[in-house]
């Protein structure tokens, strides 16, 4: 089914244990190794116009040139030119591009992790059509292999890979999940041998938004879908993806893939979690090494499909003047644009779009693991101001989103700024407004 | 094509005021045609200098290519004066005073009648009309010899 477990383990040591030269060598090796024709093309094409800066909210908020997206991969551009580009011998021979130094890489940790949400807005503004975000993702892989992933992300990824849980909890998630079912009076389908749909949850929901977990179970129940959680793969998130540990990302994804295959699922349902969608919908097959034997759907997509098929019936929800935050990984990078809007329309939501919405939406500020990096908080708050203002400017009383990381980031900002709004989960709104025409709910 | 005249050549005026396309010659200023207005104003300046400082000058008309029309306009503008001199020396030269006192229209032709030089001289009398010292001396000697021989 997959590569043997021992081959999957990457011998990555934390930063402090490695000599600087070793670190640089590791980073460069990984980056250069990973550069294929597409990335090489991206690195070749940049004309240094600086326009990508205007797409990035880190630059917009600070006007600090170092936050220019393409600048965030500068050392790797340098490495590519020296090591793998068609004229690499010239660059090397004449010393046209200096070797990247350990110090330089250290500085770039801040640029690649603390100040990049991997939101992909830069890839949409580039007049040449360079997918800058894709390069940043590759640069993160290299940083990880240099032992330069931020400690928070690194540790969570390591733990998740080992135990399936990014952080220890008083009670295992399995127990917590069942407790949520009891608390909200909804049956949690767990470890069924056979199911059409395999479910998982964001650990953010287990810890912070149990109502969202219950909502998922309730909606699935309403749809009478054959579905199950699997104890061995409950968590939707993938900290390997954030930390840039590609092998770890694969290991973590494999847990879900293996369990989905084990229960014969036709669909792997990604809950309200943006980066989990990217990791499972778009990247998992490549890491797995062959096409996945099931389809991957975000819960909003899944529900929109059910709505179209007439199986999901909704009441009109009174949410007042409402706006919607498009999670980057779902919309800009994932194409899940129509589904949430179809659901909102069916719910009769009075939707007032943000100034920048759909594919052009600004990130909540927490994406790319930034919300987990403690030292990045001041910068993150600064960047978020613009987003909060946009939400205020719609005049909406309520706002919805379909990613619990975004939700968590907004709630964190609410506490920090004393803001008066809190995002609601679209899934929960759906669960709360299931039509009882058939007597259920 | 048997005869030169059969070749249908037409010259289109590219420069305003230079050619048949501008029969009135209104656009006489600028371009390769030199421009009658420019010549007249320069003559005015040269005359002032002659009057105040006694300094003679000249304008070489061959260096200012003009169309027949422009030439006629210039002639018309200057008018005719009192003196019309014809000098026969290695061809014919005509020195005509113009209506503007001090401006002389000088035309030198060779023995074949080809124009060799054409100037507008600004002076009291064109130096060309005067005789050289050595010529006068030679003439004096010749007359003296004749008088002696005759007596």
């Amino acid at each position: 089914m997959s590569a043997p477990a021992d081959m999957l383990s990457a011998h990555v040591t934390p930063a402090q244990e490695r000599a600087p030269e070793e670190r640089v060598a590791g980073a460069m090796r990984t980056f250069v190794q990973e550069v294929g024709a597409l990335s090489a093309f991206r690195l070749e094409s940049c004309i240094h116009c600086g326009i990508c800066a205007e797409g990035c909210h880190f630059y917009i908020a600070t006007e600090d040139p170092k936050y220019t997206p393409i600048w965030k991969v500068e050392p790797f551009k340098q490495a590519y030119k020296r090591e793998a580009s068609p004229f690499a011998p010239f660059f090397k021979l004449f010393g046209l591009k200096r070797e990247v130094s350990a110090e330089q890489l250290g500085q770039w940790q801040h640029l690649l992790f603390d100040s990049c949400n991997m939101c992909g807005r830069c890839s949409l503004i580039c007049p040449i059509g360079i997918d800058v975000a894709a390069l940043i993702e590759q640069a993160r892989h290299a940083m990880f292999d240099a032992g330069l992933a931020p400690a928070e992300l690194y540790q969570k990824a390591a733990r998740q890979r080992e135990t399936g849980q990014p952080e220890p909890s008083a009670e295992p998630y399995r127990e917590q999940l069942l407790a949520i079912g009891r608390r909200f009076g909804v049956e949690i389908p767990l470890d069924r041998a056979e199911a059409d749909v395999m479910l998982c949850v964001p650990r953010t929901d287990i810890e912070q938004y149990p109502s969202a977990v219950a909502a998922l179970a309730r909606v699935m129940q309403h749809l009478e879908a054959s579905c199950t959680f699997r104890s061995d793969a409950l968590v939707a998130e993938n900290y390997g993806y954030y930390a840039g540990g590609k092998a770890w990302q694969r290991d973590i994804s494999l847990r879900l893939i293996e369990q989905a295959i084990a229960c014969g699922a036709k669909t792997l349902l990604v809950p309200e979690c943006g980066h989990a969608y990217t990791a499972l919908r778009w990247e998992a097959a490549d890491l797995y090494g062959r096409p996945l034997p099931f389809q991957v759907r975000h819960v909003s997509e899944f529900l929109a499909e059910e709505l179209q098929a007439g199986r999901l019936k909704l009441k009109r929800a009174d949410t007042g003047r409402t706006t919607f935050h498009d999670p980057c990984q779902l919309v800009r990078k994932g194409g899940v644009n129509e589904a949430p809007r179809q659901l909102m329309q069916a719910l009769g939501v009075d939707l007032h779009e943000l100034k920048n919405h759909g594919g052009f939406s600004f990130c909540c500020g927490g994406g790319g693991g930034v919300v987990d990096i403690e030292r990045a908080a001041p910068l993150r708050y600064r960047v978020m101001e613009n987003k909060l203002r946009e939400i205020d400017d719609t005049g909406a009383e309520n706002f919805l989103t379909s990613c619990s990381d975004c939700r968590h980031t907004f709630d964190d900002a609410r506490a920090h700024f004393g803001w008066d709004k809190s995002p609601r989960s679209l899934l929960e709104l759906v669960a709360d407004n299931l039509s009882s025409a058939d007597g259920r709910s | 094509m048997s005869r030169l005249a059969d070749i249908p050549v037409r010259v289109e005026a590219a420069v305003p005021g230079c050619g048949s396309a501008d029969p009135g010659g209104q656009g006489g200023s600028g371009g390769l045609g030199g421009g009658v207005t420019a010549i007249l104003s320069e003559l005015g300046e040269l005359l002032t200098r002659l009057a105040t400082q006694g300094e003679p000058a000249a304008i070489d008309l061959r260096s200012l290519p003009m169309t027949q029309l422009e030439r006629e306009r210039l002639r018309h503008a200057l008018g005719d004066g009192e003196v019309q001199a014809t000098v026969t020396a290695a061809g014919v030269s005509r020195i005509n005073e113009t209506g503007m006192a001090g401006v002389w229209w000088v035309e030198h032709r060779d023995a074949h009648g080809e124009l060799q030089a054409e100037l507008l001289e600004v002076c009291r009398v064109p130096e060309f009309l005067a005789r050289a010292q050595d010529e006068i001396a030679a003439a004096g000697q010749a007359l003296s010899r004749g008088a002696r021989g005759g007596s």
Binding site: F41, H48, P86, L124, I128, G129, A285, G335, F360 | -
Partner: protein, 219 residues
Amino acid sequence: MDLLGFARGPALKVAIAVFCLGVVWRIVGFALLRIRRDLSAPRRALLKTLGAGAWTVGTRSWPHPEFIGRTGAGEALGYSYHLGLFAVVLLFTPHILFLRSLFGVSWPGLPSSLITIIAVLTLTLFLAVLFRRITNPVMRMLSNFDDYFSWFINALVLVTGLAATAHVGGPYERLLALHILSVDALLVWFPFSKLMHAFYIFPSRAINGALLARRGAVS
């Protein structure tokens, strides 16, 4: 052989050879790096994806309305000097004759005086672009030797071309020779520089557009 003969004879040959060699070398050199098949299930059918890629080539020529406020002026400046360059390079009669002698095809040109005006405007825009590169903190930080030298060599071609048309700064044939030599230098520099974006820009947009369309995202 005089300088002009050298410029448009052997030097031009060498320049064209280096240009072709370098361009193909560079493109083949990275295009033949491995390309992994994307194993994820596409959201859109292949044909739609490719269509969206082609469409992006056009749409990415101008910023999306969401971006115009921040990038419109910069992009307009960039495009306008490119247009000026194209007009001067492709519509000036002596250039058309030059290209005709090389490729055997020709097309009508614009009046030389109009081209001169365009060239002067383009040069002005060139200076504006350089000024922007130096004063804009982002561009200044990103810029390297390539950016400045590519600017310089293009400006040199413009200036020598203008000097040759205006007969300023020496005898015409020397100015013309310098102009052609600067073009030779440009051709030699081209494959090793950012000027390669002339070849990259459209495929790059198409690929980005297609990859985004494959996921059903806006491009």
